[in-house]
Symmetry: C2
Subunit: 444 residues, 2 copies
Amino acid sequence: MSATAPAHPLTDEGAARAFLADFRSLSGIGATPGGGVDRQAGTVADGQARHWFRGLVEGHGFDVRYDRVGNQFALLELVPGAPYIAVGSHLDSQPLGGRFDGAYGVLAAAHAGIRLAARPAERSVDQTKAHEAGADDAGAAAGAPRFNIAVVNWFNEEGCRFKPSMMGSSVFTGKLTAEQALATADPRGVTVREALAAIGTVGDFSLDVAAYVEIHIEQGRSLEDDGLAIGLVESTWGANKYEFVVHGEQAHTGATLIADRSDALLGASALVVAAREVADRFTDDEHMVITSCGEFTVFPNSPVVVASRVNLLVDVRSTDPDVLAAADAELHRRIADIERSAGVRIERGAEHNWASKAYDAAGMRLAADAADALGLGHGVVRTLAGHDSTNLKDIVPTIMLFVPSVEGISHNEKELTRDGDMLAGVDLLTELLGRVINGEFVRS
Amino acid sequence: MSATAPAHPLTDEGAARAFLADFRSLSGIGATPGGGVDRQAGTVADGQARHWFRGLVEGHGFDVRYDRVGNQFALLELVPGAPYIAVGSHLDSQPLGGRFDGAYGVLAAAHAGIRLAARPAERSVDQTKAHEAGADDAGAAAGAPRFNIAVVNWFNEEGCRFKPSMMGSSVFTGKLTAEQALATADPRGVTVREALAAIGTVGDFSLDVAAYVEIHIEQGRSLEDDGLAIGLVESTWGANKYEFVVHGEQAHTGATLIADRSDALLGASALVVAAREVADRFTDDEHMVITSCGEFTVFPNSPVVVASRVNLLVDVRSTDPDVLAAADAELHRRIADIERSAGVRIERGAEHNWASKAYDAAGMRLAADAADALGLGHGVVRTLAGHDSTNLKDIVPTIMLFVPSVEGISHNEKELTRDGDMLAGVDLLTELLGRVINGEFVRS
């Protein structure tokens, strides 16, 4: 289809203004001076965002329910007794996180639901238009819904206060038990159970869903570089994540000779440097390797003490499974070298491995058709980051969409997606979700 | 002199047992499961140790006073109105510190004072013995005291909770104002003023002292390696201490490509590795360079966030001022390289430089004579670590003594000085302090 004005009459200026007003209001919850948000999972600010969200969707006729681990479901029953399509993301954030990551997707899903809820009254208009235009693909969209909508705010996607990340969707998809999640403690010893009880957003609801749709900011720069409005996520990267503990011997920095030291900080620092060297060495024109260390904690971390221990997280990711395996093996060779040269012991603790996995191909085609129908430029992308959809796609047909991030900046107060890009994403999500609930993706 | 039994009759088994019993009792305060202590400055455990110490010395006739920054003075007035000789160390510790560091010196000083306070009654015996032996050097020790004794427990020598280290002795010697010290906050925002008020060990006492003597564990292995009981400290090493801030750009570890990263943790890790390489390169048969990083704090330190900032402390020490300058220049060249290669900015904050400084030569000779009188093997050493005596020596004649540390292990729960070595140190300190208060070091 050629680029045309948005096909749906509700995607008008009023709907756009309503979305942007709600987004600004949401961005004020846990706002930081630098223009970001701090709404770590289970904090007061996370609770405020959850209650704010409840107020929004209840005002539009949704019913709000919580499951045992605080996943928040906003239910819109269009067809009594029909199965549900889930659509959502997460409202929690990193400390000093951006205001778009996750929050955009939850709010876009809610607004798509609100627009679709208002649609039945317009259906006759649509059908008339479609008939007049003789457009084949408008037919299904104009049909009666066969599914209900559950807008989901997954608990603790970020995993900064309580590990692991994607906690709520991991429990929902059976990868983690509710008991494991609830017993997880933050660094101060507060458990998920206690934190959820404190903010009062927990229940015993459960729901089966027939499919899942998520829209999220890209957190990379490929869409912006290519001038595209929409990314159709084809697959996740393969990733190996490790928790390492570097063991040294606590000593006096002033009095202990170099030869007598077993410095855990030196060993851990060498490991961080080695991980970057591995990424540089294994990245070429065909394949990319990315290594990261996002958490690095020194004990006892006193000014005049040689560190006895450093805990650090290292991850290795690649677009190609063979390259990932080779890079991982090289990293482990270098770790053995560091143990010898720095005189430390490096223990490998918990480990998580994700093979590169594809999203549903039919879902990608349906999303491409919907984008074409709205005249939105789109391209195929992969996601380096994990998302709740990474979990959901393993149990139900799942579609994952990206909108552009300015300069790819993310997990940063300066994270930015322009208003026009956000609105295009809401339009597409509305169009796509309308087709999904009408049975164009999965059968009821 | 040849090795003989201790010359002083009070240095008997009863006095030795009393010292070891008190040392065991003191070691129980803030004791850690691994055999060390955690008595960080101004904590409840530090307060307990201070009150315990007050009880001990008051029981032996000392008067206890505190100055504005919590330095604890146990006054023994032997000669009404005469000036004071200070002798002491510190009772505060590192987190998971050893039980000897500082605590040994304070307790040894108290026991030396207790033994000397008991001496007048024995003086006639001593003089008789000295006369019979015809020993010249026993004469002065047997004379009447010309000074009083102040056993001092300096506040916050370790500097782990409140920076800088050697805080109490820095205020006492005019290197830091009392107001600066009292306003210093720990990482939770508690000030020294508040911490001292909470443990109730603060006052408005002030004292001029005529000389200072300190005994401390070596925290190195040279005495043990050389089979010596006593180290006579000749000088401190020269040291440059820097606070660096490595600035990067916060980003998503999963989604941000390597080329788009400015990773503060990578830059800081490269700096730790470079500092060690500088120490290795500039150490040869003649000179030694030691570099250390004892504190390293990552922001925001979340599992999936590329660090925006790392604060770290780096110090460079050498026995030789020219080697120190050359090593320091090389470290700064490498820092400029790291800024370029890691794409970070490295800011140098506060800086402290200490030139290598000598202790009083006459004091070293007096201590050597006293050790000879007791038949204790001794040697000349330098101190890599800072001590309260490092401050005191800049304003009054100062003598610094070391006793051996097993394997040089320090700032570690496994820190150990054997009972025999502790007792030999108390014997020597008693002998030496007796000579000092009799006017053999400074004139009254």
